[in-house]
Amino acid sequence: MSAPRTIRGRVAVAGIGETAYYKHGQAPESEVALALRAVLAACADAGIDPRQVDGFASYSNDRNDPSRLAAALGLPELRFSNMQWGGGGGGGSAAAGNAAAAIAAGYAECVVVFRALAQGQFQRFGAAPPAATVSGEAALTFPYGLISPAQRFAMRVMRFMHDHGIRPQAQRAIALASYHHAQSNPRAVMHGRPLTPEAYDASRWIVEPFRLFDCCMENDGAAALVLVSAERARDLPQRPAYLLGAAQGSEYRSGARGHNAPTYASASFTTVAPHLYAMAGVAAKDVDVVQSYENFTGGVLMSLVEHEFFAPDEANEFLTVENLTAPDGRLPLNTSGGNLAECYMHGLELQIEAVRQLRGESTSQVPGARVAMVISGPMVTPVSSMILGTEAAL
């Protein structure tokens, strides 16, 4: 009989590392230097010599390719280099899943998952590219002023809120929870800048149904995770955060162009989440804390529905600040401040926060957290999500 095809319990995050987080365009050094610093920080945290790294995985067309990193770091050999297809932050958990698969399959021993951004040195996400002409899918949308990520996703959320009678306060609670947690986190860009319901309600529209505080920041910095086999992780200094499961993908014809995805009012997880739970061997009720990528709060809302934390028609009652905040909420969410208020490290800061929760080291700790979920980049395709657990969760 063949062994079950799963990464459950076979691979662990042994180290986490990040640079300081900066407002976009304010990184004091090159993007590749930031990437290298994050890798070194994660290796130091893991207690390994950086020259033991033999693989890299990233996503969203990260500009810092593994061959350059391996040469810069003087790695004896490079055994695995992986880029997850797809833009946005949808590949964050997939990159970790790909790294774990490589380790479980024997392609590599020690894979670093990383993301680095210094947008001041390149094009910003939220601004239109400076082109005089557009073709393909962009030709069907840009001439109508449908250009930025916020504009691309607003109509999905608008339809979902319409279908289920969801009030603006549901999105607001997600933003307030992130800002609340950022006030305990000295690393957060929005530390010391609390958000009140009144300030949220008074904030300007970016594109209805998104106000300013529904939208992620754009930041500079770098983050990295060191993944090794579960056996090896047990011999390293940190408490291992084991991968229980990872899944990536999207629904039937999610990529149909010109906003023709059949399952339109969706974060794209309706097929992905069942695979995730099946591999991890847990259910939504077993998840102690969730880090869910906020490109826009409405995307978080749909992500949580699709991961079965509540039904769409329960969103208004479930999504309250009280329910979403540590330590006692029903579902503590984005406990570092997330993309909205800690840093837009393209979501990889969410993986780091999930590991901190399982080590018991978060600045907004959920007492006794054993199972932590990360949901990456809603509404793009492919998306991905992952579940981590402590030794006790295995």
């Binding site: 073709s135 030709a139 069907l140 001439p143 504009q151 162009r257 023709n260």
Partner: protein, 156 residues
Amino acid sequence: MSASGGAVSSPTAYLPAGLPRPVPEPDGLDTPYWEGTRAGELRVQRCRDCGAWQWGPEWICHRCLGFDLAWAAVEPRGRIYSWERAWHPVHPALKDHGPYIVVLVELPHAGGVRVVGNLLGDPLQPVEIGAAVAAVFEPHEDPKAAFTLVQWRKTG
């Protein structure tokens, strides 16, 4: 099939000049669509083998996997599937312009395919999902290369 019923040309554009100009794809996939808008027709793909409607354009039919796709001129009417009101200007051409409405219009008589456009009229008007709309062809006589957008107005 009545291809252009209800369509009129717009003397002025809904959005300011200076937004990126649409050009057909280098491989020619969507050339019939852009030629159609110039002729006052809204064309989408329809499979000659199985009859499936398809939009956006692709080289293959997603249902039967045949490559024999026709371009069907469809009655340019539909209903609002979703919408948004954009306030923040993300392009220099939109600076100081103020809000505008983008609609996603479903074409029930063409397999429910959806097309993106603007909703003409007051940019602060209330918008209802499900509302009936009809196309308004908006020509842009750009000296580099003329093109025509497909906009929408409420008919209910």
